[in-house]
Amino acid sequence: MARFTPENLVLAQEILSRYPRKKSAVIPLLHLAQEQDGYVTNDAMANIAELAEVTAAEVIGTCTFYEMFKTHPVGKYVINVCTNISCQLLGGEELLEHLEETLEIRSGSTTADGLFTIEDYECLAACTEAPCMQVNYRYFHRISNDEVDEVIADLRSGKLADTIPDHGTLQRVRQTIPADKLAGVHAPETVVDAPAWMSRNEPVLAARAAAEAAAKAAEAVEEKKAD
């Protein structure tokens, strides 16, 4: 398990091709690995290191900095409850407590059946819709304790499978750039000239320079007159 599958390798190459430097693809590739396996495995990091032409240590270094990358298995559904200030004011902490009691786990841990992980999360940019939470990064706004119970039941029964993919999948729609539409990705050291359209400035700049020169000349004439 855990190196990229042939299909994902194609996606990985596509992602890599969009950046002037390969290392820039490390974070998107870590997401792809997490999508494939539900978390980021050591083998995946080694694979990413090869693809991005960096050391495995560098990939681990980047991976461990970011909250969303899990280096150990987590639940099929990761539930992030916002307890930051706007949500705290309207019951975010109580929501988290209720969820902890319902699922009988503390935040930061996973239920024994591997279905749910709870996280005590920072602001989710839904502050006016407090209290709020996410399940696998899909939002639930202004949610009450009863509604949370309903969501848990629906997740268990598979009723929300269409709206909420398994943990790891972020984008069910991906960017694809057809080869004939691509403007072109170049390593920075290979680009020395201004882009083509910048030559459109030339007539404007010339006209401005001419106007300035004319104004200066007129000024000089005025000054001479004054003398």
């Binding site: 990064y137 403007a183 170049h186």
Partner: protein
């Protein structure tokens, strides 16, 4: 890309009276599609820009005095002018990492009108000769990523992005990039580090001002999502029209998110510099008053990093300069309203905990200081505080941000306003931001801290 029943289209956005510059399409359920965009004037701004020379587009943006909406409020047109001439290639990095507590507007713009944002990116690239655009979207925003991916796919297909855009010599790729959960990555130099595949740790400024030394060491423009979303309107209607909204030094409109203890929390587009905090909180067109008509205790005027304001400051206009002079900042347009039931120590602890968790750890005063702030505040809140703890908090804070920290006036106590910004011993402003809730709460509600700290009676030592 279906959302669930708990999240209606443009959730939280309130379509009130008033000019609409960036939110005009939100009322349409299909606002994110190319079809709706084109039917409502989408990409007209780009077409208009393409009839001008790049430098004329830049001039138009400069004269519109478009202020950055990411936090610092720096004029975009002037920032664009900082790129060293002739150093190619140059890049555009779009800051869609919105994670400042209280802030909710960039996500709306990305989810509901991705084409407007893409068009804004293209206008900026055209004006400055930028070779490639990276749209950095916060990792946790799955729907925004899907909507932008779909919009880019449509736009590429329609020849609106990519090679020879609309049959002209203008060619640029817009690449969707996404983060993985780290608030600090919103800081522009950390954003660039992250885009280079590194840990998101800020760089020292100077010398690493992105416009001079940015992505891959090349000149790079970093702009906020909302800033760029204004460009299509400005191109279509012109800087003069734009300046008819708002005040002279803060023209145009802005999206403000008002959360907390109000009757109708939401995201409102309104004119800067004209509308006041009081209008937003009590106005019929806005939040319609405090929840339960309770008393206002305090409010955060510009995101968790901003020092707090109190009832005395509600009549200030939503404009960077007066808010800064009054001791805080307008920041990211995030206003958090707290009523009399709010525990000042608890609110302070929660905000400080955020900064302690999100400190990147690169510099000592912030890494150690924010953790200590949280530890001391936690024990005060839990009832285990020690005499002298409040002084210790202020002392730790002074090591991160020396000197008097910005804060609001309190006339009743003879305290004057200390203007923004704070000083810093750190690489970036995150560390100093952690001080804002502490000095704000201690200055105004010292008695709440003292009441939580057990008063120990000393045990008499007697010789037997």
């Amino acid at each position: 890309m279906a959302t669930n029943a708990y999240v209606p289209h443009a959730a939280g956005y309130v379509d009130n009276e008033g000019p609409k510059i960036v939110s005009s399409r939100f009322v349409h359920e299909d606002s994110y599609t190319l079809e709706r965009s084109l039917a409502t004037g989408g990409y007209e701004g780009l077409k208009r820009a393409l009839t001008k020379a790049p430098i004329e587009v830049h001039d138009e943006v400069r004269s519109a005095v478009l202020l950055g909406r990411g936090g610092a409020g720096f004029p975009a047109g002037i920032k664009w002018g900082f790129c060293p001439p002739g150093k190619w290639p140059m890049y555009l990095v779009v800051n869609g990492d919105e994670s400042e507590p209280g802030t909710y507007k960039d996500r709306l713009l990305m989810e509901c009108d991705p084409h407007q944002l893409i068009e804004g990116c293209l206008i900026a690239c055209y004006a400055l000769g930028l070779s490639q655009c990276f749209l950095y979207v916060r990792g946790e925003m799955a729907l925004a990523q899907e909507r932008i991916a779909a919009a880019l796919n449509e736009a590429y297909e329609a020849n609106l992005v990519g090679k020879n855009i609309l049959g002209t010599d203008f060619s640029v790729d817009v690449v969707l990039h996404w983060g993985a959960g780290a608030y600090i990555v919103g800081e522009e130099t950390a954003l660039i580090e992250s885009l280079e595949g590194e840990r998101g740790m800020p760089r020292l400024k100077p010398p690493f001002f992105p416009a001079a030394i940015g992505l891959y060491g090349q000149p790079t423009i970093v702009n906020n999502v909302e800033t760029l979303a204004n460009l299509p309107w400005i191109m279509v209607n012109g800087a003069e029209e734009y300046k008819k909204f708002g005040s002279e030094t803060s023209p145009g409109t802005r999206l403000f998110a008002i959360s907390g203890h109000v009757k109708r929390p939401g995201v409102y587009e309104t004119e800067q510099g004209v509308t006041t905090f009081s209008d937003l909180i009590y106005g019929d067109n806005f939040c319609q008053g405090m929840r339960g008509d309770d008393e206002l205790k305090m409010f955060i005027p510009g995101g968790a990093s901003a020092p707090w304001f109190f009832p005395e400051q509600v009549d200030l206009p939503l404009e960077a300069r007066p808010v800064g002079a009054a001791g805080s900042m307008l920041g990211s347009g995030a206003i958090v309203i707290m009523d009399a039931s709010t525990d000042a120590v608890k609110a302070c602890l929660r905000v400080v905990r955020f900064f302690a968790r999100e400190s990147c750890g690169k510099c000592t005063p912030c890494r150690e200081g924010t953790t200590w702030e949280e530890t001391v505040l936690r024990r005060i809140y839990d009832g285990h505080g020690r005499p002298g703890d409040v002084e210790m908090l202020l002392d730790i804070a002074d090591n991160i941000s020396p000197g008097p920290y910005p804060g609001a006036a309190w006339e009743a106590e003879g305290l004057e306003a200390i203007p923004f910004p704070p000083k810093q011993t750190t690489i970036c402003p995150l560390g100093p931001s952690s001080v804002a809730p502490i000095t704000s709460a201690v200055r105004r509600f010292r008695h709440e801290f003292d009441a939580k700290i057990p008063q120990r009676t000393s045990i008499p030592v007697t010789a037997s």
